[in-house]
Symmetry: C2
Amino acid sequence: MKRRAFTARNVLMSSAAMAFALFAGAVYAEEKPADHTDGPAAAYEPSMTTLGQIKVEIPGRKEGDPVMTQEEFQKGTQIYFERCAGCHGVLRKGATGKPLTTDITRENGYEYLQSFITYGSPAGMPNWGTSGDMSEADVDLMARYLLLEPPAPPEFGMPEMLASWKVIVKPEDRPKEKMNDWDIDNLFSTTLRDAGQVALIDGATYEIKTVIDTGYAVHISRISASGRYLFVIGRDAKIVMIDLWMEVPAPVAEIKIGMEARSIETSKFEGWEDKIAIAGAYWPPQYVIMDGDTLEPKKIVSTRGNIYDEQVYHPEPRVAAILASHYKPEFIVNVKETGKIIMVDYTDLKNLKTVEIEAERFLHDGGLDGSKRYFITAANARGKLVVIDTKESKLAAITETGGQTPHPGRGANFTHPVHGPVWATSHLGDESVALIGTDPEGHPDQAWKIVDSFPALGGGSLFIKTHPNSDHLYTDATLNPDAETSGSVAVFTISKMGAADVDPELVTLPIAEWAGIPEGQPRVVQPEFNKDGTEVWFSVWNAKDKESAIVVVDDKTLELKKVIKDPRLVTPTGKFNVFNTRGDVY
Amino acid sequence: MKRRAFTARNVLMSSAAMAFALFAGAVYAEEKPADHTDGPAAAYEPSMTTLGQIKVEIPGRKEGDPVMTQEEFQKGTQIYFERCAGCHGVLRKGATGKPLTTDITRENGYEYLQSFITYGSPAGMPNWGTSGDMSEADVDLMARYLLLEPPAPPEFGMPEMLASWKVIVKPEDRPKEKMNDWDIDNLFSTTLRDAGQVALIDGATYEIKTVIDTGYAVHISRISASGRYLFVIGRDAKIVMIDLWMEVPAPVAEIKIGMEARSIETSKFEGWEDKIAIAGAYWPPQYVIMDGDTLEPKKIVSTRGNIYDEQVYHPEPRVAAILASHYKPEFIVNVKETGKIIMVDYTDLKNLKTVEIEAERFLHDGGLDGSKRYFITAANARGKLVVIDTKESKLAAITETGGQTPHPGRGANFTHPVHGPVWATSHLGDESVALIGTDPEGHPDQAWKIVDSFPALGGGSLFIKTHPNSDHLYTDATLNPDAETSGSVAVFTISKMGAADVDPELVTLPIAEWAGIPEGQPRVVQPEFNKDGTEVWFSVWNAKDKESAIVVVDDKTLELKKVIKDPRLVTPTGKFNVFNTRGDVY
């Protein structure tokens, strides 16, 4: 049986998932059956109904609910958190995945859900059943689970954050100067997803210098403006702050900022370097501003509010990408479900200035253009790019990419021979690469328009990358169902790109084959350049119990330069070159 | 039996309360008893428990819940909305009144609640039982009701607002010039609370020029900067916009912006006169920005978020007072439960700039100082005044008044012979009047400090007032339990005020006695000056089925000038002089 791209994401039982499952368990932990004979019990039976135009949803058991035991519900909650919540939302309101609220699941019914979970869909739903990732019993469980209201997850405010906050090495006890001879600017902070660790790998010698325990499934690494501090955030919302000046770099502070999170960033504006950190949570929907030296939480801001266009309340507007502006002392905060981008001024937290920009729903990731003035970000489930002018703190443009579900990562900036400066995204939902003009002064007619779109290897791409010193544009196809495709990357030569009516030629590099891994379906993910832009690194990401690798390619010759293998390299995904990450070089 | 001040607030069955009660009914409307024999029913029994430090509340029936029928629960919801929600909050999290969440009510128990509702407390809880406002059966019902989780009220977003929005007379069909010979600047827009109306009363002739149907219990009237449009908002969140240029002024637009509301304001900054309106809701907790010509809703902003100091999430941060800045194109929005004041820039709603100022919890009402640069507002349940610099959009000061529960209305500005420019508040919780220095340039040592505090008639004061042309400061004691006190006002002569160690003399005016109303306990509320500051008007507010009046006093002589009586004057409360209201003259 052929395995789909999604299905090899074997997931560690994370502490976040554990807490979430425990919480769900707590809801149903009452052992003693209630006495339903002492009064008009029907009066306490929750229901779903409408009042005028207002839909009224009351959680709880309804007539016709499938029967689940406490243990089953708890297991369902855990599986949902690990497999489903990322796309469908904790409250199941939908985002990258479709909504799964009970009005919808009940209309579709058990059979439909059971079949959909088993076989997936071409629009991106993984085939959890036929892939073997879920047993028949698990699929049955989840189909029943989705017919019930989701448990409401708990809040996570200042008391919880403070309880989780640890300053492991106080600022005054840290080194006054760099104590190692590492070339820290050329380190790659590499997520070891299912191990709950990051590996710091030297960009010249390929040596794993150290492996550091972090939160579960570190989503990104970010570097303080000075280059000294490395911040990582796990999907379980645990942040670890690492001091790269220590003899052996190690955590100096940590905090948990919610139940689930994706983003962390540090202040980059002149005079504010290294001073402030910010992280965004998926649950609770909020961002938190912290001291850049210690991670002390200073201010928590809820993102709960109204969707920008329909203007109805959304209980779960998750914080996706956050970037630090180079033009102002501001963070740029993507709020996914409400489709708002919030410019957060960090100079005066007691009089907090923000600009809430109406953008587009389902904001995801993005990056700055070459001038660093404009932030370009994907509203992925709407197939659009949103452009923010960080100098003016306002919307510059919203443009359809022409492709399905753009997923740029931070995108790729280069100067196109015909169209001038552009920024590129690939797509999750199709094979296309789209280029958007980014030069409103030199090429005003093409600014913020899609100037070209051409096919790469196939759908399922997560990242695209180039470097100012490179003539190549790389894009992966990590989630493509075809093993050969997901194991390869496409390379385009920038200087050979021409007019929009001729698709540029692509070279395919068989990265997974070069890695020489015999077992599993290793998939290639996230091209990342070294500091000088002479090498590009790819993760070859295999199941937790199988061999993975990092493959290094010579950017000039496109030849294999090195395969990094090590027993410690468990499920490597994102790799973040310190220099390129801190300077927004991509 | 002596009636307490609060208890004569006989409340009309409002449409908002009806909708709310209907909603609660809908929750419990399922007639058919659920089948609890088909599985592990205990698994669906909601519970309250903790997960680590996180309190987990699940609505629904708990073991030991008192039994209520659907009809009882519906009636309890209705009574709660009308009598209790204003102080305790829809979700019972507490504000001016104590929290009534089930963790607290269950610890206190039925007997305690029953007794407390019956007899009240000196801290401000009305004696609903002994006053006769609630029957013994009602008190029993409410004590049981409070042991159950509150029903979650529905959202009210753009679809609901648009459905309620009516443009009765389009802007192009309205008069091009003033079509009546009314002195509209000297009208008093007078709330007829329990009639769901306002009366427009001529300030010179005392004639009721017209009576206009509005929402229930109009909380305030506000006037557009040009003086043409009058906006009123009912407690049921219905806004009515009245064109004072029409031959007979009448509504030209209306909208409902939630289930419950208190505040409305219109833009006053130069160049933006009459362009924008804003209203704040108690439920859902949000404010909405509207077109100043038509009330078309443009932007809804949720205020749900974290409490400023504890930084834990609050589900019901209600919008209290809203004022228009004269220094910037901004509205000043008081958010009660989170203790935040939000400066909302109305120039670009798609890139909405706000400054969220950490202030103090339980923000209520307030007004501008004499220079109109500073906004002074009460954090009433914390006994404090918060001062905002509207020129800088930041906090200037937070000061304790020394009294209990300051309730300034818009306050009163005058120049004190010793202390210079001050702003005054009276108190709900005690008899004191506090003066805060408002002249940071001329009297920097006294700026934003309480420079004097002295006794007036007694506790239960709602409003204090003076006028630039008056030498008198008036304060009511509306909610004082003593009938004579609540029927009188205190007058201080400003020019005779001295140093802080000598309390100024007060003159008592027996306003209710002057009104000559034989029945009920008519209480005197809200001094309001005419345009020229030569007369001050008082509402003499009686029960709905009894006679009320407005008493006009000559400000120079302090003698009775006129008693306005009319069968249409049902429960008059707030009166808003057009000129003084639109110019923030108080």
